[in-house]
């Protein structure tokens, strides 16, 4: 067993972990990155398509290129120690209040890291068939879209010849194009909602370009096949939400991809006693992205599922600077509550402060052009913003300058509510 002492431990070496580690190390602190895989980069490595980094680098990169840039920065930084093929299994606390991260490394066996602060940057996992309950047999040939993406883009394994995709999330859409390009037939994408859950540009470039049908308001009601999938039954949903059995039809296929959403990976955090936010399934955090457990912070997809990596980087970098303040012994300032109002699925962080600017991220529940965003503090309007277009698949970022809080009585309790109409 090895024991190591550092200022901060970052769990996960994806885009969030790398940006957080860099920002902590730039302030002169020793950081350890714990990464389960044999390389840094996380999910980006399997996202070989274009479309990353427009905000961060002002150009469109592929996932691996975006990861490579950060990997190069991380490798150059002497304050960062990288532990690959090392899995964090538990977070505990020493008597003196410091945190201990228990890990298992392929090379060194058990390593215990003690640190003043821990950053959760473990990313998210995919929802699977269990989460959406489809009737029928349990044959081979059913993959989550992200797993299929990894198999195809990293190992070169083609999952099947005829594919039906359940759910219109971005990973499924991107995979529709990718599979078509390797000669697999994509027979359709089935979406239960009346609108796609992925980005419009992915509908256009990954489905329309290849005339792949998108069945909105439809469900896969049954999966057939003994050893391998042989077909699916697809059923429309009527306007009042009922299943319209009579209009069902079948498609023969050997493979099904599930692209039905992502959820933050929280097992580790839950065991450490971190309070979970039921709107995001990630941790509940204060204005400094600290969870309910002192000294444990969270960012990236481990906090909430992001659609754009540039936001992950921004959030993680900021998280790193809060970690720095915390290690320095900065006292936690009084914080107001942040709550979601009309048409907001969730808003983060769950608190805000009045002595500095705040960046909030929220996800809308509706699709709309020319929407308006309203911010109220203790039911009084403080800010209004026009939004050209909103949809649930696109996160909204809000910058609150500290001037907004000029007229707020600092000693009172206050609640900030964000709504859209």
């Amino acid at each position: 067993m090895l024991e190591k002492k550092v200022n901060a431990v970052v769990i996960g070496g994806g885009s969030a972990g790398m940006a957080a580690a860099l920002s902590i190390a730039e302030k002169g602190y020793q950081v350890a990155i714990i990464e389960r895989e044999d390389t840094l980069g996380g999910i980006l490595l399997q996202c070989i398509h274009n479309g990353f980094g427009l905000q961060e680098f002002k150009q469109e990169l592929t996932g691996p290129e975006y990861a490579q840039r950060f990997e190069d920065f991380v490798h150059k930084n002497r304050k960062i120690n990288i532990f690959l093929e090392t899995t964090a299994v538990d977070i505990t606390q020493n008597d003196n209040g410091t945190r201990v991260v228990n890990t298992y490394s392929k090379k060194h066996g058990v390593i215990l890291f003690s640190a003043d602060a821990v950053v959760l940057a473990m990313g998210c996992r995919e929802r699977n068939r269990g989460n959406i309950a489809i009737a029928g047999t349990r044959p081979a040939g059913i993959f989550t879209a992200g797993l299929a993406q990894r198999l195809l883009n990293i190992d070169g394994f083609i999952p099947g010849k005829k594919v039906v995709i359940i759910g219109s999330g971005d990973i499924g859409l991107i995979m529709a194009r990718r599979l078509t390009w390797v000669g697999t037939e994509v027979l359709g994408v089935v979406e239960i909602q009346p609108f796609p859950s992925g980005l419009t540009r992915n509908i256009v470039q990954c489905l329309n370009d290849f005339s792949i049908p998108l069945y909105l308001n439809h469900v896969v009601s049954r999966i057939y096949g003994k050893e391998r999938v042989t077909k699916v039954r697809i059923t429309p949903i009527t306007q009042d939400g009922k299943i319209d059995e009579k209009k069902s039809f079948q498609i023969a296929c050997d493979t099904i991809l599930l692209s039905v959403g992502l959820i933050p990976d929280m097992e580790l955090a839950k065991n450490a006693g971190v309070r979970i936010n039921h709107d995001t399934n990630g941790p509940y955090v204060n204005a400094d992205l600290m969870t309910s457990q002192e000294g444990i912070f969270a960012c990236g997809n481990a906090l909430h599922v992001h659609d754009i990596v540039d936001y992950v980087t921004e959030e993680a970098r900021r998280c790193g600077s809060y970690v720095h303040d915390y290690i320095q012994g900065g006292r936690v300032k009084k914080q107001g509550n942040v709550i979601p109002g009309a048409n907001i699925k969730y808003i983060l962080p769950n608190h805000y402060v009045t002595h500095r600017n705040n960046r909030l991220y929220c996800r809308p529940m509706i699709v709309k052009n020319n929407a308006e965003l309203f911010i109220k503090i203790n039911k009084k309007f403080v800010l209004q913003k026009k939004l050209r277009h909103i949809q649930p698949s696109e996160m909204i970022s809000i910058d609150l300058e500290k001037d907004v809080f000029k007229n707020i009585q600092k000693d009172q309790n206050h609640t900030l509510e964000v709504s859209i109409r």
Binding site: L45, I48, H49, N50, E60, L61, T62, P64, E65, A67, Q68, L152, N153, I154, D155, G156, F157, W181, V182, L199, T200, R201, I203, V204, Q205, N208, D209, N369, R388, H389, Q391, E394
Partner: protein, 118 residues
């Protein structure tokens, strides 16, 4: 000829109707100039960035990601993919290296998008 398209130049996603006659192309449904440019381009010479993976020689289940440096005319996508699936590369490789120069005289290069050691 008439085509129904969705403009993807910004998140609004206007539904365009692009019509072409022998001497001109008209775009309807766009809310701004960029939609017109997008519609015309899609009608005349649609292009896409192509990404794929290429096999690493003598290694099983080991592939390296690649992309076209600029968008490629759509009609060249199939031939390019065919060429990419035929190729094998040797390690080590460096992110940004040119794998194919000026593919079929289109002026488009194919780049490797990740560094990998042996």
């Amino acid at each position: 000829m008439e085509k129904k398209l969705i403009c993807i130049s910004c998140p609004v996603g206007c539904h365009l109707i692009v019509a072409s006659t022998r001497d001109r192309i008209t775009v309807k449904g766009n809310q701004c100039k960029r939609g017109e440019i997008y519609g015309k381009e899609e009608m005349l010479s649609p292009k896409r960035i192509v990404t794929a993976v290429v096999k690493i020689r003598k290694k099983e289940y080991c592939y390296i990601p690649v992309k076209t440096e600029k968008p490629l005319l759509k009609k060249y996508i199939k031939p390019l993919l065919k060429e990419l699936y035929r190729l094998e590369v040797d390690l080590p490789v460096k992110c940004g290296t040119v794998l194919i120069k000026n593919f079929e005289n289109t002026g488009i290069n194919v780049l490797i998008t990740r560094s990998m050691k042996n």
